[in-house]
Amino acid sequence: MRTWLRQHRQAIAAAFAKLAAQKSAALLNALVIGIALSLPAGGYAVLSSLRNVTQGASLEPQLSVFLRTEAKRAEADAVGARLKGDARVGEVRFVPREQALKELQATEGLAEVVAALNRNPLPDAFVVRPKIAHSADAATLDALAKDLRTLPGVAHVQVDSAWARRLGALAGTARLAIALLATLLAFGLVAITFNTIRLQILTQRAEIEISKLIGATDAFIRRPFFYLGALQGLSGGILALAILWGSLAALNVGVAELAASYGSGFRLPFLAPGDALAVVLFSAGLGWFGAYLSVSKYLLEIEPK
């Protein structure tokens, strides 16, 4: 165990020494990896903020039934009773016009507008969730909406979930695109590490071959290259986070201005600590894998058949 630990310690020291000996090449490699990784990481960060927005919206189909503004509460009660009696309707929630106004006032950027109004322009409304059997397709929902429009006192019926579904679908497509981009760039990272380690192997060819001849195991020979690949990936991962942080900081100047014009404090957030750690570990892992492929290939080449 002590021998094993000593050999790992020596391998780590050798990997650091190689990086230090080729500072500019190591920095360029890390930069290439960093830029490559920052693209999917940035996309993920933007999507995460988009997800936060869409999570606030219901993706389940629902209908908003607005009554006429002059409708009396008795009419609203009658509509409510009809809705509850409809076999296609699962859930009904009454939103009185006073509550609707309060919710509007609480919306960012609209408080001043609402305060300037001399009367409540909002009608009473019902939020209707159809039963699952009637929410499966748009035609069924449209038929339900059409029927609800004929109820006395109803001014307008709106199918609410369409935009949220579209946004969700768009976010899903973007997530898939980012996953594909990340996969492609991961292959790129492995290829970069593979090539760097191959070049490193060529500079140490004599040492490797002599070590093999006099009794070094493959594991002993591989170890410093594994650490070198992992360190290269690790530094690339850290650079990717730095690039992402800098880019988001720059973007947020414009985003903050835009959001402020809507009375919002919205910013593009940096990755969560867990996600940032995952980027760094993923990058180090890919570096290790690239080194593994490169050294294994070389060791097989020099072994007699």
């Binding site: 002590r2 021998t3 071959e209 002599i210 070590s211 006099i214 009794g215 195991t217 493959d218 007699p304």
Partner: protein, 217 residues
């Protein structure tokens, strides 16, 4: 200790470097493999540590059939063999001392013990005073002695040398062979390939003579 039984080594293209070679070397023996250039001496020596694999026949080293050893077992076979190469295979980017330390890096010894071993090996070949020098600064004879020090630092039971005196003058060659004889005196089995008949004549040892891949004692 080392046994060849009807060993054939055929290279791609059909050239047979060894043709049905059989012999055995007992523990503590000193033997020369003699023959002209191209006779198959180097090939024969490379088969012992499995640097090359036999095309047919069996090779036993310390009771292990080398031809059927798995790749993962080869390092442990090689650690028990001290190998001295014709071109020395020294590393010129590090000191004499670091060259001798190389086989100890993947061994079990602690740092202090390994350093002691390396210096003892250098002392045995008369190079302790040059431990900080770069191998490039050494003469041909000294470089060969350094290669011997690296070969013996793990205290192998068998020492195998391929043309260790090929590029040396007569005195240096004799000095190198005296070192092999000294290790043999303490029980190390020594197998030396050489084409230098005069040198073989100076040592009354067993001679295995190879001619075009065939053995005659």
């Amino acid at each position: 200790m080392i046994s060849f039984s009807a060993v054939v080594k055929r290279y791609p293209g059909g050239q047979e470097a060894l043709q049905g070679v059989s012999f055995s070397i007992e523990p503590g023996e000193f033997a020369f493999i003699a023959g002209h250039s191209g006779a198959g001496k180097s090939t024969l020596l490379k088969l012992i540590p499995a640097i090359e694999r036999p095309s047919a026949g069996a090779i036993l080293v310390n009771g292990q059939n080398v031809g059927s050893l798995k790749r993962s077992a080869l390092p442990y076979l090689r650690r028990n063999l001290g190998l001295v190469f014709q071109d020395q295979k020294l590393l010129y980017d590090r000191s004499v001392y670091d060259n001798v330390m190389l086989p100890l890096a993947f061994g079990e010894l602690g740092a202090r013990e390994a350093a002691g071993r390396a210096r003892a090996a250098l002392e045995k070949v008369g190079l302790l005073a040059r431990e900080k020098a770069n191998p490039i600064q050494l003469s041909g004879g000294e470089q060969q002695r350094l290669a011997i020090a690296r070969a013996v630092v793990n205290r192998p039971s068998v020492l195998i040398a391929d043309e260790p005196t090929a590029n040396l003058d007569a005195d240096s060659a004799a000095a190198v062979l005296e070192i092999f004889a000294a290790f043999n005196q303490v029980g190390v089995t020594v197998l030396v390939a050489t084409h230098d008949e005069a040198l073989i004549g100076r040592f009354a040892k067993r001679v295995l003579r190879l001619t075009r891949g065939k053995l005659a004692e």
